[in-house]
């Protein structure tokens, strides 16, 4: 049942009772560039009652939105709550079915679709709770997206780093919800990963006190910063570089990247094709949009677009990352660093 708020109004003999629902509205278009069209209609109050509405003409949304909605549904179901809402319009229903959204919101929907439609280059929303499931998912994922091996490198890389972050740091009650889609018109792969765990600020708090969710997000994107230690270079198991690598892959791809946690997000904007790509260890130097006081997302949601037109190969991208990493530290001139021995 939804929460009840009782309001006593002076002068009135009755007590007003207001039902509080968690509400989401799926707009006709919600991608990273215009994610506000989704967030502006998200009301996170009450995690046991979810009310879902959608645009009644057509819907095209980023896998980030798919993963977030499915994560909310997963949480409500885990808590024994109720999901209600309007029926999806017939035009958008096949798409939402294929992305796993209808099933998450109503497991007994009973709607049948042609599973072999040619437009299907997508990964429907899937729950990943263990390291082994992640391994299997990455193996299964790449053939479905029909990429070349070279195009697959950054996709596999991003998926591994983002999901491992969830499994290791989030305490999410159901792990990560992931989805992906290839968009032919823009020739890009979009990926969304969402959890309903403790969020970045709480995960960082063991080692870093941050004043706000936004501060925590910005700190987490700096290479070498991890919630598990204050030591440079991290612990034996965590280096704190996953988000930096992921942001860098989006930037070299000249595409969008978004991290949303608590009441804040960081959105990396597209890089102009006429300008050379420069990677920054400090996300404040990126062409980006950082917002606070958004509807509270319990946990973390990350979305990324990776262009398949990317001219730079993955090795060159890694070399740029290496250079950005080196610029972020002040090395003493008298210390000679050893090099690894390649044979």
């Amino acid at each position: 049942m939804p929460d009840l708020i009782y309001i006593k109004c002076p002068g009135f003999p009755v007590i007003l009772r207001i039902f509080v629902y968690m509400k989401i509205h799926i707009p006709n278009s919600a991608f990273i560039g215009n994610i506000e069209s989704f967030l502006n209609h998200f009301n996170p109050d009450n995690e046991t009652e979810l009310y879902v509405t959608s645009n009644q003409s057509w819907i095209s949304i980023h896998p980030l939105v798919v993963s977030m909605v499915v994560a909310l549904a997963e949480e409500v179901n885990l808590k024994g709550g109720v999901i209600t809402g309007e029926n999806f319009n017939a035009k958008s229903r096949p798409y939402l079915l294929r992305m796993g959204l209808v099933k998450a919101l109503n497991p007994n929907h009973g709607i049948l679709i042609d599973e072999h439609e040619s437009s299907g280059r997508f990964i429907p929303a899937r729950k990943i709770e263990t390291s082994q499931q992640l391994n299997q998912f990455i193996t299964d994922m790449v053939p479905l997206l029909h990429t070349t091996p070279e195009q697959a490198y950054p996709i596999k890389y991003v998926m591994s780093e983002l999901v491992r972050n969830v499994l290791e740091h989030s305490n999410s009650p159901f792990g990560a919800i992931v989805s992906a889609q290839y968009f032919a018109k823009s020739n890009r792969i979009s990926i969304g990963v969402a959890d309903r765990g403790i969020g970045i600020k709480a995960a960082m708090s063991a080692s870093y006190a941050t004043a706000s969710d936004l501060d925590a997000i910005l700190l987490a994107m700096r290479p070498g910063i991890t919630g598990t230690t204050k030591k440079i270079g991290g612990t034996e198991y965590n280096a704190g570089a996953g988000l930096f690598f992921t942001k860098s892959i989006a930037k070299v791809s000249r595409d969008f990247f978004l991290v949303y946690s608590g009441d804040a997000f960081f959105k990396l904007h597209k890089t102009n094709v006429a300008k050379p790509v420069k990677l920054f260890a400090n996300p404040n130097l990126d062409k980006a949009n950082a917002k606070s006081l958004l509807p509270y997302w319990q946990g973390t949601a990350v979305g990324i677009d990776i262009s398949m037109d990317i001219n730079q190969d993955f090795q060159e991208l890694l070399e740029l990352i290496r250079q950005a990493y080196q610029l972020d530290v002040k090395r003493a001139n008298n210390v000679k660093y050893k090099k690894p021995k390649f044979v």
Binding site: I138, G233, R322, V329, Y337, K338, P340, F342
Partner: protein, 102 residues
Amino acid sequence: MTKIELYNYTGDFAENKDIAKDLRINCIEPNIVNDSVQLDFNNITSATQSFIHALISNVIRINGVDVLDRLYFKNCNDQIKTIINIVVDYVQDGIFIDPEDM
């Protein structure tokens, strides 16, 4: 020399940090103290920084940077070489740089 064929544990994409940690604890650390260790990346097409970190960072921290004279990386493609270089560099940053100086 102890030789470890990583592909047998990771497949062509080396990303599982749990496997990296197990290899480090059970195969690298016991042997690197008095011997050399060769990590063979044959047939591995890509690896994540997290995997390489879990595999070697603590080996360098515990044994000191001179352990790099006894740790060999075989059959690495350019991608994997770059990632290994990144990890080896920042682990040494952690050894040589005082966090207060950052």
